[in-house]
């Protein structure tokens, strides 16, 4: 296999593993993405608790490890050691299958997400369709979970959740189409549904689609941004699992590791829809201003960002290390935090190696954009009250849907404005 790896590196193939046709590389990428997303979910879990806590004038997890850094691990151990309860009267087959479906649906979307021009598991020319289709499979898992539990609260939660998700899927689809419309504004007049193709179209048109036909692109993005929060059942649209009404919604009856699968699926879905929004409107893996700020100097400046980020993280960690209590009781924690900083410095130094520096560019910018979205998710949760079900449906069907249709029509008309102008011109001159 090492020979194969060097072969791959030497050939420097500019295709995704899927196109390259190698199951080995596909498997490597799959494991990387699966592991990476799982890790991201764990980090997100910690970050969400910390950020939310600091928004709410409290500290969040502080006990397990320095600043609660080991809390996710402790949680994982706790969940593994919890009893897995299948309630009486539940349809055990469906009950056990439901979280699996949600998870597989949530993760399969990652097959087409391009972390870079070659860093995608595969690129299909129906990328967006695939993503819309697979993410809609999650609804099935939720309905099944709620129905199988044989309990009122999960059933109501599941019905609510699925109604909510299908309602927002319509608006989401319309917003996606208006982005697809923009991809076909090239001389050939051919658009694409491929995720990589969409990013390349943005590069070719010298703009992120969010700024295209301002404000049309922005409105489409806004529709998608609202729909994606609803689609992932997060605040302020978190009423399927509204703990104050339905205690936990469709996963009320789940416990232990099986429950954590739902959480894993939810967070994975959050990351995946964010990456879709980024791919469609925010230039995907491209660094800011790839067309404006060109030249080797700018390239170098931007390529230093990953290392700088990690240096920044290391600086934060070291600052916290210095502020740790000096009591011997905290010695291990202080050393641990320092070691964390050390790891960050190490990563930053590795990121300074020119080859690595250029290699991680795409992934870095993509992940940085995802991080912004995830922060927004947390921020929403800290700020907004929860919508009521009828209000939620009203927003979906009476606000976002007409807005989506309108934006779609307007984008179509804008895209053909020269033709329309010619036509009008000819009419006048007849």
């Amino acid at each position: 296999m090492p020979g194969f790896i060097t072969n791959y590196l030497d050939k420097n193939v500019h295709v995704t593993p899927g196109q390259y046709g190698s199951p080995f590389w596909a498997l490597v990428y799959i494991l990387l993405v699966f592991g990476g997303v799982s890790l991201a979910v764990v980090c997100m879990n910690w970050l969400e608790r910390k950020i939310l806590a600091h928004m709410q004038v409290r500290l969040g997890p502080m006990r397990v490890g320095p600043h609660g850094l080991l809390q996710p691990i402790a949680d994982a151990i706790k969940l593994i050691l919890k009893e897995d309860i299948v309630p009486e009267g539940a349809d055990s087959f469906v009950f056990l299958l439901a979280p699996l479906i949600i998870l597989v649906a949530g993760f399969s979307v990652y097959c087409v997400i391009p972390f870079g021009p070659t860093h995608a598991i595969t690129d299909m020319n129906i990328g967006i369709l695939f993503m819309l289709g697979v993410s809609s499979l999650g609804v099935l898992g939720i309905v099944m979970a709620g129905w199988a539990s044989n309990s009122h609260y999960p059933l109501i939660g599941a019905l609510r959740s699925s109604a909510q998700m299908v309602s927002y899927e319509v608006a989401m689809g319309l917003a996606v189409i208006s982005a697809v419309l923009m991809t076909s504004l090239n001389p050939a007049g051919t658009g694409t549904l491929s995720m990589i193709g969409i990013v390349q179209a943005q590069y070719a048109q010298h703009t992120w689609f969010i700024f295209k036909f301002f404000p049309l692109g922005f409105i489409a993005f806004f529709i998608f941004a609202v729909a994606m929060v609803a689609e992932t059942n997060r605040a302020p649209f978190d009423l399927p699992e509204a703990e104050s009404e339905l205690t936990a919604g469709f996963h009320t009856e789940y416990s232990g590791l099986r429950w954590s699968l739902f959480m894993l699926g939810e967070y994975a879905a959050m990351i995946s829809v964010s990456s879709i929004a980024i791919t469609l409107w925010l230039g995907g893996w491209m660094r800011p201003f790839p067309n404006l700020l060109q030249g080797p100097t700018w390239d170098l400046a931007f390529s230093l960002f990953p290392a700088l980020t990690f240096f920044g993280l290391a600086a934060m960690t070291f600052y916290s290390t210095m502020r740790m209590p000096k009591h011997p009781y905290f010695r291990i924690q202080t050393i641990g935090l320092g070691a964390f900083g050390g790891v960050f410095v190490l990563i930053a130094l590795i990121l300074l190696i020119p080859r690595v520096r250029d290699g991680v560019q795409d992934v870095y910018w993509f992940v940085a954009k995802i991080a912004v979205f995830l922060y927004l998710y947390i921020w929403y949760r800290g700020t907004f009250p929860r919508y009521r079900f009828d209000q939620l449906m009203r927003v979906g069907w009476k606000v976002l849907l007409p807005l989506g249709i309108g934006v779609l029509m307007a984008t179509g008309i804008m895209g053909l404005r020269t033709e329309i102008w010619d036509f009008v011109h000819r009419l006048v001159h007849i």
């Binding site: 593993p17 899927g18 196109q19 046709g21 199951p23 596909a26 498997l27 799959i30 699966f34 593994i80 050691l81 009893e83 897995d84 309860i85 299948v86 309630p87 009486e88 009267g89 539940a90 699996l100 399969s108 097959c111 598991i121 595969t122 299909m124 967006i128 695939f130 044989n150 309990s151 009122h152 609260y153 999960p154 059933l155 019905l159 109604a163 309602s167 319509v170 319309l174 189409i177 697809v180 076909s184 090239n186 007049g189 051919t190 658009g191 549904l193 205690t247 009320t252 009856e253 232990g256 590791l257 009828d390 449906m393 009203r394 069907w397 849907l401 779609l408 029509m409 179509g412 895209g415």
Partner: protein, 118 residues
């Protein structure tokens, strides 16, 4: 090329085996002593009086059917969207008629109050 889609199957296979294996493995460490009270469905501490799987309100059904209709509409728009520049004005007009007919229906159901939840 279909080989583009093979990784999807691999992905599903990987996720679909890894998770059940994890679940089975953790069976070795987690306790299991179910008893009647523990297995009761959650109903805020009260014994449930009836089975939960009764008929449910018809509104969910309407939402689902409206979703299917608008989803079909969305699907029809995709082939147009990737080629709309080539279709030109004629394609746009076609699409506007298509959407127009549906918008009529949309306005009708709005007027009818089918979009109201309560």
């Amino acid at each position: 090329m279909p080989q583009n889609y093979v990784p999807v199957f691999i992905f599903i296979a990987v996720v679909g085996t890894l998770i059940p294996i994890t679940l089975l493995l953790t069976k070795l460490v987690r306790p299991s002593n179910p008893h009647r009270e523990k297995l009761l469905p959650y109903e805020c501490g009260i014994d449930p009086v009836d089975r939960a799987r009764g008929r449910y309100t018809v509104r969910y059904y309407i939402v689902a059917i409206l979703f299917v209709v608008f989803d079909v509409e969305t699907i029809f728009l995709f082939p147009w969207a990737v080629k709309f520049k080539a279709f030109g004005l004629f394609g746009l007009l076609e699409m506007l008629i298509f959407l127009g007919i549906l918008i009529v229906g949309y306005i009708w159901i709005w007027q009818k109050g089918a979009l109201e939840w309560v």
